[in-house]
């Protein structure tokens, strides 16, 4: 089918691009690894505290890092799009009969790969330090990360096509980054937080991803938390992709 071929060919283009700059993919791992080395040890004294009752401290912490990996780096998708807009590549592609959906998905799926591969590396590195993932849960967790990455990449691209300026994009991305991360319970479980903070967290999509991710890491696949996580991430991915496709269709590159 033409659509599948188009997505595949366009993803190949972006994958080759990433492989030409392997440092970029490796750098994706640097922040989670730094946190694993210099931040996670601080949490050891919290073992057994609220939010750390299941498994080791890393069983709680690493799933959060995986969510961070699937979100923080992917917010850069918009910048790369703006660069390609500048060089005329997007314009050239938009004159071909390729569907706008395929144009978007080529990039989104590359970003999914660029999340899943480092995520697996991160899991492998964390195991000797006391992370005990359950394999079935971890596999489902990767699907959850793929949804989060898709939603983030698509939204970042749509936003980039609308604001058109790196400065404006930076303002939005940076302005939302820390609040979203802090309110997700990614650094410290929100069960340690006062009531108002916990309530506030419920409007943050990342919160549901982190909660579901923690369940999945320890092998709890059928929980309501996991269901919620998939519902929120799946819903956002569909919405963001639909939005971005629409913007791609209308945008004058």
């Amino acid at each position: 089918m033409k659509l599948v071929t188009d997505v595949w060919v366009l993803m190949g283009r972006k994958v080759r691009e990433a492989l030409r700059q392997p440092t970029w993919v490796i750098m994706n791992l640097s922040l989670p690894l730094v946190l694993l080395a210099f931040y996670a040890p601080l949490l050891q004294s919290l073992a057994g505290a609220p939010g750390f009752t299941r498994g080791s401290v890393l069983d709680v912490f690493v799933p959060g890092m995986l969510v961070m990996l699937a979100y923080v780096n992917v917010t850069a998708a918009g910048y790369f799009l703006l660069m390609e807009l500048d060089s005329g590549v997007i314009e050239r592609l938009r004159v071909t009969p390729v569907s706008r959906f395929a144009l978007l998905m080529g990039t989104v799926l590359r970003d999914v790969l660029a999340t899943i591969v480092p995520a697996l590396v991160l899991v492998a590195i964390a195991i000797p330090f006391g992370f005990h993932p359950r394999w079935a849960g971890a596999a489902v967790l990767m699907v959850l990360l793929a949804l989060l990455t898709s939603a983030t990449a698509a939204a970042s691209s749509a936003l980039a096509l609308i604001v058109r300026k790196v400065e404006s994009l930076t303002a939005v991305t940076n302005g939302t980054l820390m609040p979203l991360l802090l309110l997700s319970g990614l650094f410290l479980p929100l069960s340690l937080a006062p009531q108002w903070l916990r309530v506030l967290a419920h409007v943050n999509p990342l919160y549901y991803a982190v909660e579901a991710s923690r369940d999945l890491a320890v092998g709890t696949i059928g929980s309501a938390t996991v269901g919620q996580g998939f519902l929120v991430m799946g819903g956002l991915a569909v919405l963001a992709i639909a939005w971005a496709t629409r913007v791609y269709r209308k945008a004058a590159a």
């Binding site: 033409k2 071929t5 188009d6 060919v9 366009l10 190949g12 283009r13 080759r16 691009e17 030409r20 700059q21 500048d86 060089s87 005329g88 590549v89 997007i90 314009e91 050239r92 592609l93 938009r94 004159v95 071909t96 009969p97 390729v98 004058a252 590159a253």
Partner: protein
């Protein structure tokens, strides 16, 4: 639902444009970038869209290539309506934008194979076509190097190759030779002529007079979003009238005034004036008038020191049509 309120060109027309318009909202109001233009480009023609930066050339081109939805009017490109059937238009046209659009990190070959694949060619087919085009645009030496290592001319050749991967019926080139040195410009002109020879229609924009003059079969001059005039370069220059034939007789000739009166009575000559040692003759068509005038003078035994023909340039046409010279026109306007 194609309304038949107007005859929409002939089947042989590659591009038919009627009352096409586009305005943009900017701070403090709207800018009418294209104000209802009409165009016809015949199949197999090299058509030039000439005008300064900001005249509306690129905006028009972007509407014709489905990149920008028109606000009003209609455009048929390669037989399909740009608004109603953009996918059909896309399959039938090639486009090389001002910024080119080659993927810098990828090699020339990778760029070409990808492009061919996007037009539905299978892998083997796409590789074969890429190899063929690499030969055609003389990139063999560089085909497997990243495009970012290419010189300006090499890059442009790659970009043109990208535009013709799928044998388009109509190829759109936006300022194809901007920033190229004379040698590369001539090379690209040859390439465009070769395309016409294979039946491809070429629609290009330029703000170079020489380019429109040397390359294009027909030219439309656009200024402030409207077409100021249209025709072959020759027609445009002729509608300025008056090509000038300058005659400087030799020392032993009859008195100038005598000669002038004689020449003024000739067919082809509209006006004859004396300017210093020279007689200036306004003629309709220099190509026809010059030989006749020279033959006449020779049969009268008039010795000649110099004879020259000075044709109005497209620059003069532009100046005449818009009241500004092309060189100045683009200044202070955004493209």
């Amino acid at each position: 639902m194609i309304p038949n309120r107007t005859a929409l060109g002939k089947a042989t027309d590659a591009v038919v444009v009627e009352n096409l318009r586009k305005s943009f909202r900017v701070k403090g109001g709207t800018v009418e970038a294209v104000r209802g233009i009409d165009l016809r480009v015949a199949r197999g023609e090299i058509f030039g869209f000439l005008g300064p930066n900001g005249a509306g050339k690129t905006t028009t081109l972007r509407m014709l290539t489905t990149l920008l939805p028109p606000d009003g009017g209609r455009a048929l490109v390669a037989g399909a309506d740009v608004a109603g059937r953009p996918q059909d238009v896309r399959r039938r046209i090639g486009y090389v934008g001002q910024r080119g659009g080659a993927d810098s990190a990828a090699t020339g070959r990778e760029n070409l194979v990808l492009q061919a694949r996007l037009y539905g060619q299978r892998k083997a087919e796409a590789s074969a076509r890429a190899a063929e085009l690499i030969d055609l645009v003389q990139l063999s030496e560089f085909a497997d190097r990243p495009a970012l290592t290419y010189s300006g001319g090499q890059r442009r050749r790659l970009e043109v190759a990208l535009g013709i991967v799928h044998h388009p019926q109509v190829l759109f080139l936006d300022e194809p030779t901007a920033g190229l040195d004379p040698q590369n410009r001539a090379n690209l002109w040859d390439r465009v002529r070769a395309l016409r020879a294979t039946g491809t229609t070429v629609f290009l924009t330029t703000h170079y007079m020489e380019e429109a003059d040397a390359l294009c079969d027909r030219v439309a001059i656009i200024d402030h979003g409207a077409i100021a005039s249209e025709g072959t370069p020759r027609e445009l220059k002729q509608c300025l009238g008056r090509e000038m034939v300058l005659i400087k007789p030799g020392p032993a000739a009859r008195p100038l005034e005598d000669l002038r009166r004689d020449l003024a009575a000739q067919r082809f000559v509209e006006e004859a004036r004396i300017e210093g040692e020279t007689i200036r003759l306004s003629v309709g068509d220099g190509g026809q008038a010059l030989p006749a005038i020279v033959a006449r003078l020779q049969s009268d035994g008039v010795p000649l020191e110099t004879v020259s023909l000075s044709a109005p340039s497209l620059d003069d046409v532009f100046l005449r049509q818009t009241g500004r010279s092309l060189r100045d026109a683009g200044k202070g306007e955004q493209s």
